[in-house]
């Protein structure tokens, strides 16, 4: 009993959820490690880290959107759009300041997010409909405006081409690459932001109980709008990261990213009904997906098992949220009641 109490006081069910995901990742890594020769290497780490970086950044924005009981399916198109246009811009003006380029990426993404946000918050069009639509529109506009061109590595300045393999802090053979660092910084920033900023707490409030939020006068529409703008802006940043990582950008860049991102968020324990979930969870979800993506093919099985497993993971994640987490919450609440009762008895 005492131990349960200790657990209850120090760990929330949501954290338990993240811990079990972490355990699952460890198990998966150990499994792959035992099956694949030379799996435990810095190369594997780098590989997973750089594939996680892009998904992770977008997943942070998606977390905000899902917290408010919405969904943003247009992130892949936003990332592609940004990657292509910023790529073209840099190709034409090689002297563009790197920071300016990043800022432009974020601005383009944010602007596209504004469109989503306005339509959802003020147009009262369901997010699935809006973002399924803009998924097609943004990609379509990109293809039309691009004039059938490709951004290629040779047209980019050297700093950008070298960016992905730049080693920020060499620790032995371990490369700490900038893209991964960006993702980690974003996650930490948002983790603290979501925990400590008054405004950010409203995302939780609104997803938790939208009617109440409306009644006590929380700016419901504004918060939903901002969630979409942030999601768009981070997708824009991810677009820049895509440009840096792959160098060659066709009009297809970022296609299908939204599926990975939504999967990461859901697997990471962000409740699809809104209100609960953390940025770190989404990042863990992204790591799980990245690990699968980068490891399965080395087992010698079809790379497409990844998708089948991913579908299964989403199902299990949502089911465990709906069934197990609810039960855990009840157990937690019950012990809480008992504690209050005993307090009340002691102090009549």
């Amino acid at each position: 009993m005492a131990r349960v109490n200790w657990l209850r006081r120090h760990v929330r069910p949501e954290q338990l959820r993240e811990l079990s995901l972490l355990a699952l990742i460890v198990v998966a890594v150990m499994f792959f490690g035992s099956m694949i020769e030379g799996y435990y290497s810095f190369r594997t780490f780098n590989r997973i880290a750089s594939s996680v970086a892009i998904i992770g950044v977008v997943a942070v924005g998606q977390t905000l959107v899902v917290l408010t009981r919405n969904i943003d399916l247009s992130v892949g198109s936003i990332a592609g759009f940004t990657a292509f246009f910023v790529g073209t811009l840099i190709a034409n003006h090689n002297g563009v300041n790197p920071l300016l380029a990043v800022a432009i990426s974020i601005a383009i993404g944010g602007a596209l997010g504004v469109v989503n946000g306005v339509l959802v918050a003020w147009g009262r069009v369901p997010a699935v409909v809006v973002t399924l639509g803009t998924l097609a529109i943004y990609r379509g506009v990109l293809v039309d405006l691009s004039g059938a061109k490709t951004v290629t590595t040779d047209s980019l300045p050297q700093w950008l081409v070298d960016l992905p393999r730049l080693n920020i802090a060499p620790v032995g053979d371990l490369d700490v690459r900038p893209l991964f660092v960006v993702a980690v910084v974003i996650v930490i920033l948002f983790q603290f932001g979501m925990g400590y900023l008054s405004f950010a707490r409203r995302f939780y409030a609104i997803g938790s109980n939208p009617e109440a939020a409306q009644l006590i006068g929380l700016p419901l529409k504004r918060v939903v709008f901002i969630a979409f703008v942030v999601s768009g802006a981070l997708a824009g940043l991810a677009g820049f990261m895509t440009l840096a990582r792959f160098g060659n950008i066709t009009v297809e860049a970022g296609r299908g990213l939204e599926l990975n991102v939504v999967a990461a968020v859901v697997v990471g324990g962000v409740n699809i009904f809104g209100g609960s979930g953390r940025v770190t969870g989404a990042m863990l979800g992204a790591i799980m997906i990245g690990t699968l993506e980068q490891s399965l093919f080395r087992l010698g099985v079809s790379e497409f098992w990844r998708d089948a497993l991913l579908g299964l993971l989403i199902l299990l994640a949502v089911a465990s949220d709906a069934v197990i987490l609810k039960r855990l919450n009840r157990i937690w609440a019950r012990t809480e009641l008992k504690r209050i009762d005993s307090l009340a008895e002691r102090a009549p």
């Binding site: 809006v130 999967a263 579908g311 199902l315």
Partner: protein, 318 residues
């Protein structure tokens, strides 16, 4: 009721406008051959849209339809390649579709998960299974009769798919509007709790919706394979967008309980003619895609704005 009828009138007027615009813009538009093509080029999506209307009226959504199409086609191609006779392979494909649908239904109707999440998992997972089966290959070499069924007219210029579509349209229209099942779909879509409190077996209705949706998608997948004469793992990728757009544009409410087959039929005709007209005007599929995406958003936005204006007007009248 009134506003619904108004929506269909609007669709009809739009359809007339598109048809007359097409007829004046392109002299190739009015012709039997073109009309057959116009249907034939999107016939699989049209078939899937019919059942999607049921799902959305039932206040659910099925994002996995395109992946089920791909899965069914791949199961057929794979088993055929492994030596199964084609009719058997087709049956297995349909069975795979039904299984996929039952899997969706289990999680949605019996575990109570949101259909958006479950069918998103299906969208990813079923596609994965399809690609595991055929990987990066293209499987073809089906018997000639099979390809002919997909490509040539069966009665006059009417292909098998078009005839299946017409039969299904009539069947589904009757099913939705005149049958007990159709009534239950509306009831479940309007107020699922009231349905439960009235002794409606909600889980069964939902199971029927998702199994039906997947079964029809599987059939569409096989027809698609017949039309193309070969099968690839990425077949029909992204079709769900067009299918859902068609249904929503047809006046079916994304919140369930509202909509009818006339609207869906009109919206199908509108989209097909629009696409065809743009194609004939040398506007590429890409531009068509985003016009359709825009239509999807507008089909929900416009009624909302209309309602706002109406409310404001009423407020002033007071």
């Amino acid at each position: 009721m009134n506003s619904l009828r108004r929506w269909e009138t609007l669709l009809f007027v739009l359809l007339l406008a598109v048809v007359s615009l097409n007829a004046t813009e392109s002299r190739y538009y009015l012709g039997v051959g073109n009309f057959i093509n116009l249907f034939q080029l999107s016939i699989e999506k049209s078939i899937v849209a019919l059942m999607m209307a049921f799902v959305i009226i039932g206040a659910e959504i099925d994002l996995s339809v395109a992946s089920v199409m791909g899965l069914a086609a791949c199961v057929m191609a794979y088993t055929f390649q492994q030596g199964a006779p084609l009719p058997l392979a087709i049956l297995l494909a349909l069975a795979a579709g039904v299984l996929a649908g039952l899997n969706n239904a289990f999680w949605i109707a019996y575990v109570g998960l949101p259909s958006l999440a479950v069918t998103l998992a299906g969208l990813i997972g079923y596609r994965g299974l399809a690609r595991i089966l055929v990987e990066d290959r293209a499987i073809g070499g089906f018997p000639l009769w099979f390809n002919a069924l997909g490509q040539q007219g069966l009665i006059g210029p009417l292909t098998l798919s078009i005839m299946i579509f017409v039969i299904l349209f009539v069947f589904f229209a009757v099913l939705l509007h005149a049958s007990a099942f159709g009534r239950l779909v509306y009831v479940v879509g309007s107020n699922v709790e009231a349905a439960r409190y009235s002794g409606v077996r909600v889980a069964r209705v939902k199971t029927a919706l998702f199994a039906g949706s997947a079964c029809v998608s599987a059939l569409a997948g096989v027809l698609y394979a017949a039309r193309l004469g070969s099968v690839r793992g990425d077949m029909a990728e992204g079709f769900e967008l067009d299918v859902i757009t068609t249904v929503l544009l047809g006046g079916v409410s994304i919140f369930g309980g509202k909509g009818n087959m006339v609207g869906v039929g009109l919206s199908l005709l509108l989209i097909l003619n629009l696409r065809n007209g743009m194609g004939l005007a040398d506007i590429t599929g890409n531009t068509q895609n985003y016009v359709i995406g825009g239509l999807l958003i507008l089909s929900v936005l416009v009624p909302n704005i209309y309602q706002d204006i109406q409310n404001k007007w009423k407020g002033r009248e007071r």
